[in-house]
Amino acid sequence: MSAMLEVRDLEVAYGKIVAVKKISFSVEQGQVVSLIGTNGAGKTTTLRTISGLLRPTSGEVLFQGERIDQVAAHDIVARGLAHSPEGRRIFPRLSVEENLLLGAFARKDPAGVRTDLDSAYDLFPILGERRKQPAGTFSGGEQQMLAMGRAMMSRPKLLMLDEPSMGLSPIMMKRIMSTVSELQSQGTTILLVEQNAQAALKRADFGYVLEVGKIVLSGTGRDLLVNDEVRKAYLGED
């Protein structure tokens, strides 16, 4: 069986600046795969290209065996690939419920959306308590929960999370990361992009290290965690 997501020789450029240079990686069904790297390594660019918000200059993206690198963003969501963007990007002036319903925008089954709304509230009870409240009044951690819940509303087969731990307190980060594991156990495949390598690799089945647009290392999460170079560069150990 082929991988759920396969990226082949992907190259993405902003004008003359090449942000992602011929990278290849894959995500297998049911895995949590981490993409780690410093600022400007090209992680976010990679995710934005996969979800159709950017177009690659060359290379291919295959989702469930079909090429999606020229497919419109809203079609990609409808096919089951959700993207929770960097910086959460919730709609601050809309209520929690409206935010969640927007996550389900591509779906045409109102009854199913209702059920998933309830399961989002089960996953994050705090959202259920404040479903009518404008999302902008939430704390960072709650906004991240909302962003994840919103992405899950499209009932994705593959969920891409872009830096979910950004700017969160350690306690909140723990909560978010355990939710990642919970979602995996429920059968969602996850591509996790993180600067926080420790947290991301601990939960990852497989990991890739991105450095200025290139994949420089790959391996299981456990292997990368103990890898000397990774420890030096990303975990701040000498």
């Binding site: 990609i76 990007r89 319903l101 925008f105 307190s169």
Partner: protein, 570 residues
């Protein structure tokens, strides 16, 4: 907003600072003086301001002053006296201050008006001065009284029948005041009537009663909508067979229906369209060229309902044609491109005169002599008598336009509360995030453009027949700007607000003709003041309010984070 518990209310006794002991009797004396003065003669000249010269027989403007004084009385009694229960809920003093200010302004303007219309202050009779002094007394007393704690009016619950009765009374008052204000012949009376309306509105707003009205309206939305339409429907019957005001009213309705269409594009989808008038124009031109006018250029004369659909269809098609290339740009760029489109439309109509292409529009002459509509044997040009009241030509169009406006409002509210409406709002808020959520941004923006154009086209087909003539100079950029101004003034994305904005912007220039040279100056000033004091528009949608009062939002976040920290500490 947040479910954070506010600290328990302070005991009533502590929250009751005593004002100057003189304040209350002073206010009462003011009320008495205003009323007494109003029963006396205000003006020596009986020819001006609807005759205020007779003792013990108050004219219209004097009755308005008495009404304001009675409101002041109610407020004073709510401060101290039999109505204190009311005073527990309303910020009486703030209301009284607003009333004192506006009533003093009202009386001052009366004096100015008398001296301007007649020959100087000599024509003011003692009654006018007495009422003016009374107004000033109320003003002084209001500033001596202490302000109070405002209670949350969303908690105020009264029996359902009372709420519905309040809506009915409010609507009846709107109808009565509208009929009265429109019936005023001279501009000074009209301005004074506006000050009166502003005074009542200010009192309702400052006391907090308006927020109660808002909550009641939320709870009884259906009743409110129905009664609003009933009032609009009854309006022609208050005109006693005169068609003069109905002519203005039909123009208001065309303008309002068009503004509602633009409200979908600007208010919901957030696309700034500065050439919207072109869609109204294309509908009007379709209806004109297919009419039985001697100057019509198209030989096919289908029934009007078909013409309506064609006109709207042409407008929507134009919307798609202009939208497909231009909706890839956004913000200021889109505004410029649509502005250009509006001008292209006007110049095309100007030039399609047979010299520079096919003769479709007769160029600058346009299509005059468009006959009145006839639908199913009913001729809109005829005068009909219903229940003893003559309904003229404009009343006929008024009813048709009322149906159109209702339809446009229906489309707007259905879209607003639908999945599509949610997509539009998401695009307006954060287009990139919306795209990542699976919202097909381009398709939805195009749809907003097309729906808006369709509705404007519908209105245009009726407008052509009602005006009787169509020419390019009716569809200038300024008209698009006015439509936009109506939306901004009233409140983007709301129904009531845009209707209100459209009414104000269309009605005032008609009634204040002597201001016509300064019309643009005044509107400019009005918009600047709005942006300064109430950027979300007269009627604000919840989201807009958040948008323009970010500091409150920041505050809410702070409160939330504090609460969270406390929780985590446990």
């Amino acid at each position: 907003m947040t479910d954070v518990k506010t600290p328990p209310a302070e005991p009533e006794t502590a929250a009751e600072p005593q004002g100057k002991p003189l304040a209350w009797p002073l206010g009462l004396a003011g009320v008495v003086l205003v009323i007494a003065g109003s029963f006396l003669s205000w003006s020596y000249d009986g020819q001006i301001l609807g005759d205020l010269s007779i003792n013990f027989y108050p004219g219209g403007l004097q009755i308005l002053a008495i009404i304001l004084a009675l409101i002041a009385l109610v407020l004073l009694l709510a401060e101290k006296g039999p109505l204190t229960k009311l005073g527990a809920w309303l910020d009486v003093t703030a209301g009284l201050r607003a009333l004192g200010l506006t009533l003093t302004l009202y009386m001052l303007l009366v004096l100015v008006a008398i001296s301007a219309d007649s020959d100087g202050l000599i024509n003011v009779n003692p009654g006018g001065y007495i009422s003016f002094a009374g107004a000033a007394l109320i003003l002084v007393s209001a500033w001596l009284l202490p302000l109070r704690q405002l209670r949350d009016m969303s908690e105020a619950r009264l029996p359902a029948w009372f709420e519905i009765l309040s809506i009915a009374v409010l609507m009846a008052a709107v109808l009565f005041v509208a009929a009265y204000a429109l019936g005023l012949e001279d501009a000074w009376s009209f301005i004074l009537c506006l000050v009166f309306i502003a005074a009542v509105a200010a009192v309702l707003f400052r006391t907090g009663a308006l927020s109660w009205v808002g909550h009641v309206a939320q709870r009884n939305r259906k009743v409110l909508t129905l009664s609003a339409f009933l009032v609009a429907f009854l309006f022609p019957f208050t005109q006693g067979g005169s068609d003069a005001n109905m002519s203005i009213a039909t123009q208001v309705l065309v303008f309002a229906a068009t503004a509602m269409g633009l409200n979908i594009v600007v208010g919901l989808a957030g696309l700034l369209d500065l050439g919207y008038i072109a869609f109204l124009g294309s509908g009007a031109y379709v209806a004109a060229t297919m009419s039985t006018s001697a100057f019509a250029t198209i030989g096919w004369k289908p029934p009007f309902l078909v013409v309506m659909l064609i006109g709207a269809g042409v407008a929507a098609t134009l919307g798609l044609i202009i939208g497909t290339p231009t909706l890839r740009v956004s913000g200021d760029y889109l505004a410029i491109v649509t502005l250009g489109f509006g001008e292209i439309f006007r110049f095309s109509m100007f030039n399609l005169d047979g010299n520079n292409g096919p003769n479709l529009t007769n160029g600058p002459n346009g299509v005059p002599g468009i006959p009145d509509l006839e639908i199913g044997g009913f001729n809109f040009g005829d005068v009909h008598t219903v229940a003893g009241i003559e309904l003229g030509r404009f009343s006929n169009y008024y009813f048709l336009l009322l149906i159109l406006t209702a339809f446009v409002i229906l489309v707007f509210s259905r879209l607003n509360n639908s999945r599509i409406g949610r997509g539009w709002v998401a695009i307006r808020e954060d287009e990139k995030a919306a795209e990542a959520m699976g919202v097909s941004t381009f398709g939805l923006k195009l749809l907003a453009f097309a729906v808006g154009a369709f509705l404007a086209g519908l209105a245009g087909t009726i407008k052509a027949h009602q005006d009787g003539a169509v020419s390019p100079d009716q569809y200038i950029f300024l008209e698009s700007a006015f439509l936009l101004a109506a939306i901004v003034l009233g409140g983007m994305g709301t129904i009531a607000g845009v209707l209100l904005g459209a009414t104000i912007l269309k009605l005032l220039p008609e009634k204040l003709r002597f201001f016509s040279e300064y019309r643009l100056l005044l509107f400019g000033l009005l918009l600047v003041l709005m942006m300064r004091f109430r950027p979300e528009g007269l009627v604000a949608s919840r989201r807009r309010q958040l948008e323009f009062h970010e500091e409150d939002e920041a505050l809410a976040v702070e409160v939330e984070e504090e609460r969270l920290a406390v929780e985590e500490a446990k």
